[in-house]
C-alpha cells in the first residue's frame, strides 16, 4: 500500500528543494577548514551529520549549525554543483570515511578490542572495533563495520569475497 502523500506541504517542500533549491545550495570549505552553507541568501557555518550513517552513509546528509538546528538537508552529493559536492565530500571524509572492503586478511581479538586487517578499494587498511560492536547487515545489502574512530567499512557482497575472507567474516554475521 503506497502512502497517499497527504502531508503535501512537506513533500512539496522537499520536492521543491530537490528540484530547485538544492541546486541553489552552495557549500564551501573555508581556509580554516570550516564548512559554510549558503542558501536563500543566508550563509552559516555548518557541520555534517549523516542521517543514515550505517545503512546509507552517502545519502541524506543533514547540515546543522552550531545550535544543532538543521540548516539544510542534502539527499545526495549528486544533487549539488561540483564545487559544493567536493566540499561536502571532504567534510564527510573528515567526519568519517566509508571504505569499500574487498578482502579480509585477519581478525584478531585482544583485550576489549578486535583488530581487523582488510583490503579495500583504497588499499590495505587495519582498524579496531570494540568487541561488542558487531558488523551490521544494511538494508541496501552487504555488511557494515564501524571502527572505534567512527570510520565505516562496507562489504557490498560478502558472498563474493574469497573463501578465507568469507570464513573470517562468517563468525561475525547472522
Amino acid at each position: 500500500m503506497k502512502p497517499t502523500v497527504y502531508f503535501e506541504a512537506i513533500a512539496e517542500e522537499l520536492r521543491t528543494f530537490e528540484n530547485r533549491e538544492w541546486n541553489a545550495l552552495r557549500l564551501e570549505q573555508r581556509i580554516d577548514g570550516q564548512l559554510w552553507a549558503t542558501h536563500r541568501g543566508e550563509s552559516r557555518a555548518v557541520f555534517v551529520k549523516r542521517c543514515f550513517p550505517w545503512s546509507e552513509p552517502t545519502y541524506f546528509v543533514s547540515l546543522r549549525d552550531s545550535d544543532e538546528n538543521e540548516f539544510a538537508l542534502v539527499r545526495h552529493l549528486t544533487d549539488l554543483d561540483p564545487a559544493s559536492s567536493h566540499a561536502l565530500e571532504q567534510s564527510l571524509a573528515e567526519a568519517g570515511f566509508v571504505l569499500e572492503v574487498v578482502g579480509i586478511d585477519s581478525v584478531e581479538e585482544e583485550v576489549e578490542i578486535r583488530h581487523w586487517k582488510v583490503q579495500t578499494v583504497q588499499g590495505h587498511r587495519s582498524f579496531q572495533t570494540r568487541l561488542d560492536d558487531w558488523p551490521r547487515q544494511v538494508p541496501g545489502g552487504g555488511t557494515l563495520i564501524r571502527d572505534v574512530a567512527g570510520d565505516l567499512y562496507h562489504i557490498g557482497d560478502p558472498a563474493s569475497l574469497d573463501k578465507k575472507s568469507r570464513d573470517l567474516l562468517w563468525a561475525f554475521v547472522d
Binding site: M1, P3, T4, V5, Y6, F7, I10, A11, L14, K49, R50, C51, F52, P53, W54, S55, E56, Y59, F60, S62, R64, E68, N69, E70, L73, R75, P139
Partner: protein
Amino acid sequence: MAVIWRLLGYLTPYRRRVAAGMGAATLITLVSLIPPYLAGYLIDEVIRPVQSGVLTAARGSAVAWIAVASMAIVFLVRQAGALVRLRMMTVLGEFVARDLRTQLYEHLQTLSLSFYSRKKTGSIITRVSSDTDRLWDFLAFGVVDVSLSVVMLVGLGAVLISLDWQLGLVMTIPVPVLCWWIFRHGERINPRNVDVTKEFNRIHHLWTSFWPALMLAVHATTVAVWVFAIPRLLGGDNGVGPTLSAGTFVSFLLYTTMFVAPIEVIGQMARTMNRATSSAHRVFEVLDTEPEIVEVVEPLRLDPVRGKVVFDNVSFGYDGIRQVLRGVSFEVEPGEIIGLVGPSGGGKTTVVNLIARFYDTTGGTVSIDGIDIRELEIGHYRRQIGMVLQEPYLFHGTVVENVRYGLPEASLSEVVEASKAANAHDFICRLEHGYDTVVGERGQTLSGGERQRISIARAILHDPRILILDEATSSVDTETERKIQEALDRLVAGRTVFAIAHRLSTLHKASRLFVMEDGRLVECGTHRELLESSIGTYRRLYLMQKELK
C-alpha cells in the same frame, strides 16, 4: 498416552530419517551383544583347550587373533553406527523443533487479543522456546533411547536363555516386573497437586526413595545369578562335573552388567516422559485454542476503506457477565474527527477496540462503509487502521526500522518526509547514529515524547484510513505536547479519526464529541453544543478541568 501419540505424529514427515536413526541404533545394540559372547568363546574354545593340550598354541593364537579382529570390527561398526545415529537424530530433532515452533508461532498470530490478555507473555515465550526444546530432546533421543533399551533387554534375554536357559530365566524374569515398577512410579510422580511446593517435595521424596530401591533390585538379580551359578560351576558332590562352563559364566557376567544400562535408561525415561508430557500439554493447549475472532469463509475486502463507521445498538462485555457497552449507536462519516470523552470506565477504549475488531460485539453490529465488520478480511482491514497509543510500542531495532514498520518497502525519502511531518526528524538527527540508532527494547533509550513522535511518523507512513488516537499527548511536557499536537494535526487530515482524551483541550480539532459514561453514549455534539447543555456530563467535566487549571 494420547498426547505422546500426538507428539510422535511430528516424526511422520521424517520417516526415512527416523528409520535410518533407528536402524543405526539397532545395529549398535546388536553388535554390542557380540563381545561378551566372544569372551566366553575364547575361554572355552581357545584358552582352556590350549591349557589342556587339546589345541596347539599356534592354532589357539590364530583363533585368538580372529576374535580380536572381530572385536575391532565390532568397535568400528559401533562407532560408525553411533555417528550416523547422532547425526540423523540431531538433525531430526532440529526439524521437529522448527515445525513445532513454526506451527505455534503461526497459530499465535491468529489468536485474539483476549487470549493475550489472559496469558502472561513469559508463559507464551516458555511454550515456544523451553517447551519445544524439551519435546525436541524427547523426540530426537528419548524415543530412540527407550526403544533401543527395550530391544537391548529383549536381545539380552534371548542370548542369556540360549546360553543357559536356567540362569537366563533367573536374570530375565524380574525384568518385566522392574519395567512395570518403573511405569507405575512414572504415573505417581506426574504432578497433580496445585500446591507447587508440596508437589516438588513429594516428587523429590519419590525419586530419592525410588532410585536406590530400583538399583538394589537390579543388583539383587545379579547376586541371584551368582548364587545359582557357583554350585554349577564348581560341580556337584555326587561326582557329576561342572554343568556350567567358565566361558559361559564369564559371558553371562558380562551380559548381566549390560542389563543395568537399559533399565537405567527406562527409569530415567519415565521422568523425561513426564516432563515431555507436561510440555506437550502446554504446547497443545495453545495449539488447540480456537481464535475468538474468526474470519468468514469468503471475506470481503474494502480497497480502500472510505472510513464510514456505524455502531448499531452495540453491546459488549469482556467477561460475558458485565456489560461494558450497552446499546451504543452512532454514525461517523468519512473524514470526521470524533473525540471520545468521559470518565474512566465509560467504554471509550472498548469502542475503539471494537472498531479495530480486536473483539466481536455481543449484541448489535459495527459496520464499516456499510458492511458488517465481521464480513471483512481481518488482516486487510486492520492494515487500513492506524493507532497512536498513550504508550507507543517501539521494537528493538533502529529508528528507520521502527518508522518503516507499517510499510517496509517505504523509501528513505518517504521515511524522512514522514519523520519531518511528525516533528521527529530533528531529534532523530541529533541521535548519535541518526536514523540507524538502535532504540532498545520498547524504545527505552528514547523519551516518551520521542517515542510518540516516532509512532506518529510510523502512522503517517502507514497512511491509515481510520485512525485511533488513545491519549496520545498525555504524560509529556507542554513543549513536547505542542510538537506532538502539531504532528497529529498533520496526521489526522483527511481520515476518520477517533481520539480518546482526558484533557479536553487537546480535542480542539474534533468535529464532534461523543461523551461515554457507564457504557452508554450519553451526549453527542460539537464542543459548543455540549457546553450549552446546562446539566450535561461534558459541561461538568469541562468546568472541572477549567477549575483545576
